[in-house]
Point group: C2
Chain length 288, copies 2
């Protein structure tokens, strides 16, 4: 290897694979890296396998096995996307069982963080440690349906790059520049891309998001039953799920640590892919 050779990009060339689960669904997934337990990722609103930043996945996979998958009805997976977070968690459990994974580390991002919370409450033994990125607990006041400009930015029938940048990146030139670099990385894979997500997925996921955000103080207590170590992280300017809710999670979950990344928004984990991957690695490998 010479000094000018490019770093390897395993996620860019990771094959689309399929596993058939007991619920009758054929799940699309990709995996890179090695190690036990694997780190399984739960994707954001309307995202498929191609919406994970390859730079983040490769950084995470330098130290461990990383698995991305499409849940039911999403991208290349069969079936119809359900409209509740609880059913999404059951569907994720069916995928893990099909993969013969008895225990995993989970990283849930945005709606994926809702699914991750629900999964660890439904089947605690499956989860060793939990990373919640751009997350909020069910029932928190003030987040129902997201702000109008947020759902307008990412909820339209066709992908709107400016709308995506406005939600996933902060208004500063530095953050927007990081956003445009991300769009380049997301477009880099040209062969064997995942199937796009459908309007049915958009509608079902948004219904689940709205239900999750119906304010109900009593439901906040649910996450106090999460008895694994949790790392809560967010961008300081996330307009979709405010960092306020990261503090709330960290204050409700008994074993939580929290980090808020400066000058970033919903996609802080892509903007700070190397730093966030290092923070996740430190958390997952910490003897606690």
């Amino acid at each position: 290897m010479t000094a000018t050779s490019a770093a390897p990009k395993p996620y860019l060339t990771a094959a689309n694979q399929t596993v058939s689960a007991a619920n009758g669904i054929d799940y699309a997934y990709r995996e890179v890296g090695d190690g036990t337990p694997p780190l399984v990722l739960l994707q954001h609103f309307r995202g498929n396998l191609d919406n994970w930043d390859p730079a983040l996945i490769d950084a995470l996979a330098s130290a461990r096995r990383v698995v991305t998958f499409d849940s039911v009805g999403v991208g290349g997976s069969s079936g119809t996307t359900p409209s509740t977070v609880t059913q999404m968690a059951r569907d994720a459990i069916a995928f893990l069982e099909a993969m013969k994974l008895d225990q995993v580390d989970l990283l849930g991002f945005s709606i994926g963080s809702f699914v991750a919370q629900e999964l660890v409450l439904i089947r605690p033994s499956l989860v060793r440690r939990l990373v919640l990125a751009s997350a909020a607990p069910q029932g928190a006041a003030g987040m129902h349906g997201w702000a109008p400009e947020v759902i307008a930015g990412v909820g339209k029938p066709t992908f709107n790059p400016e709308g995506y940048l406005g939600v996933f990146f902060a208004p500063s030139p530095a953050s927007r520049d990081a956003g445009r670099q991300l769009l380049g990385r997301l477009a880099e894979r040209t062969d064997d891309r995942d199937a796009p997500t459908t309007w049915q997925t958009r509608q079902a996921q948004y219904e689940a998001v709205c239900a999750w955000g119906i304010p109900n103080h009593a439901l906040l207590q649910r996450v106090s039953a999460i008895n694994v170590p949790v790392f809560v992280a967010n961008g300081d300017s996330d307009p979709m799920i405010l960092p306020h809710y990261s503090y709330l999670l960290a204050g409700l979950i008994p074993q939580a640590r929290v980090k808020i990344y400066p000058d970033s928004a919903h996609g802080f984990l892509f903007q700070y892919n190397a730093e966030f991957a290092a923070d996740v690695e430190e958390f997952l490998s910490d003897p606690c």
Copy 2:
């Protein structure tokens, strides 16, 4: 002034003053600095006017008027210390009224942070901005009565310097050294010291602390009604009121910011007196 002259220490020489309130209590207080609104401080468990770090008070007072006082039955104030946080808040309001203060910034420390929360809920118009140091909301799980080693360290009939250091400072040599320096500063005033706090105050305040810590998830919702900007701060190793509860407050209060200071404990605001005073000043003068 020559380069070798010592910095002025206004709080060390501030006179003990008395004001008579409508509730029949003669309140002991001190004040330094100038400006409107004043910053009024609410003291920790068993603390009197001499238990405020003069370095912190002088740093705060460099930019504004700072008022410290003994609440009912504490130190040089008359009366019997009540055993509920709510009554302590009413007693603090009586002091502010006696001082003819229509609006203040409040800094509550430890049990004083409980009183500050209650005060702003009872009489919102009195408070412009709120600083909660080493704080927790009423009803939070896991803090009832403090850990046995904590109440053993600071709950004995006579002052135990090692017990105080073990609660107010982290175990590291740097933090303990800061603690010994603080004990020196607290002892520096020899004339006109405040009256010591009594066993009656200790018992009543501890009863109030225990009642505050009875777990009740529903009560957590109360602080979501605090509609002023709030700065929540704690030491990362506070054994008395865990930083976990600072995140909980920051997640429940709509307009909150939070900072956790490294390698410090319950007395982080004394250990980091210059940095904390600067952070408070930035918060209080921020246009928000």
